[in-house]
Symmetry: C2
Subunit: 255 residues, 2 copies
């Protein structure tokens, strides 16, 4: 069976959120990423070269439909600059926001992160720092966007990402430490950071919305070096998230 024009069209259409939502699937490309996601999400379609399929003899049980394709066919279906030997369509899970998670672990909330690469990078670093749940505001970019999925480097298999109204979520928490980074926040190295709770990160250009900021009860900042350096105004949101998460985890193990 070769890769039909219809299937190529269907795969490529997944660049648009509308089509991903209608089909309830997302696209992942490349041996490493597809390999990490298999077994974590039901796989509706897998397209690969004979060579790749030979590396995975027991695949038929895990995948609804397998299509053998040439490199040339794969490159016509691919959304990557460098097409790979395998791509797959996985079913989107539907995680409900589980507010209880923030009472016994450290979670992230993203208030309007817009860049697909930034979101993917954040999922990847959450995986590194053992953060199992990310709450995204409803205006945060779709985590199933192909660019985001690629940037997670498989983190999507271990980090639950759900979309919810953040002010409502925060109102339901009470007493839980809710951290947010602000230029006028307290130097995070001088704060005793909690091992459970929520870290809120904002939009690339506009930061955290007022209605979310007003519900944050621990305002922190990442100090520049030297601390009075005024030139640089901000850090990329994925970078800032990483530096903050690293410090939470450093304090947790050095207590």
């Amino acid at each position: 069976m070769s890769l039909s024009k219809n299937k190529i069209k269907c795969i490529r259409s997944l660049e648009a959120k509308k089509h991903r939502k209608e089909e309830g699937v997302f696209l992942a490309e490349g041996p490493k990423l597809v390999g990490e996601l298999l077994g974590h999400f039901p796989c509706r379609l897998l397209v690969a070269t004979t060579e790749w399929l030979e590396t995975r003899p027991a695949l038929a049980d895990e995948v609804q439909e397998i299509v053998i394709a040439s490199r040339e066919e794969l490159s016509r279906a691919s959304l990557l600059k460098t097409p790979q030997s395998v791509l797959a369509l996985f079913e989107q899970p539907s995680f409900q926001a589980d507010a209880a998670m923030v009472r016994h672990s450290l979670c992230l909330a993203l208030d309007g992160v817009q860049d697909p690469g930034n979101l993917g990078t954040i999922v990847r670093l959450a995986d590194w720092f053992g953060i199992e749940q990310i709450f995204c505001s409803l205006h945060t970019v779709d985590v199933y966007s192909p660019k985001t999925v690629q940037a997670t480097m498989g983190g999507l298999a271990r980090v639950k990402v759900c979309y919810t109204d953040l002010p409502t979520l925060l109102d339901s928490l009470e007493e839980v430490p809710v951290y947010g980074t602000f230029l006028d926040g307290g130097n995070m190295y001088k704060e005793v950071l909690s091992e459970t709770g929520l870290i809120v990160m904002g939009n690339e250009g506009n930061g955290i919305r007022t209605e979310v900021a007003s519900r944050i009860n621990r305002r922190i900042c990442i100090p520049t070096f030297p601390a009075d350096r005024l030139a640089a105004e901000s850090l990329n949101v994925a970078v800032a998230t990483a530096v903050v998460c690293a410090e939470f985890r450093r304090q947790a193990v050095t207590k």
Copy 2:
């Protein structure tokens, strides 16, 4: 004077490194970025709307040529998805690698970072953490690529980036602490990190080349959380650079 077809073609051609090199210029777009770079690099051409130019009445002294353009003309010249009210061509500086810098300050070396966005993000965070010099291997992506310039968010005005043969540079250093991150390196939170020296970061897929790794005398790692978490394999290179730089600076101020 309106924006000629020739000028539009010339501006758009700067997406290619070849043309940037031939002309010795780089492109920057947007009021904030152009505003930060003016005064730091000679400006060969500035294209802006009347409205933007009214905000900068004394501009003529700083700029070789000013062209007033409509929003429509600017959008035809722009390489951005969201064209801005101003763009400018600046002259590329030619920094010589100054090895002495690593003896009295903390510097970065990048061994083959390939993604323009990653490099720009690293320049931006170097600015935040007060790192004034970045040495790039000759196979590192061009810092004057438009995507990189945009991602620096003006950091290019304060951080010197130069291209040099890293093994030769490292051989010239002797006795200087040269750090690199490796999965089997020592937990960086348990190391006493130097206030001067060099931090080497590698390529997105392949890490640090053998000939560079062999010249690193302090092998460190960013621990996962928990420390025995095996699932996540790596961090994005800009994210890893940020977490490492933050820890060097944290130790410097808490000593």
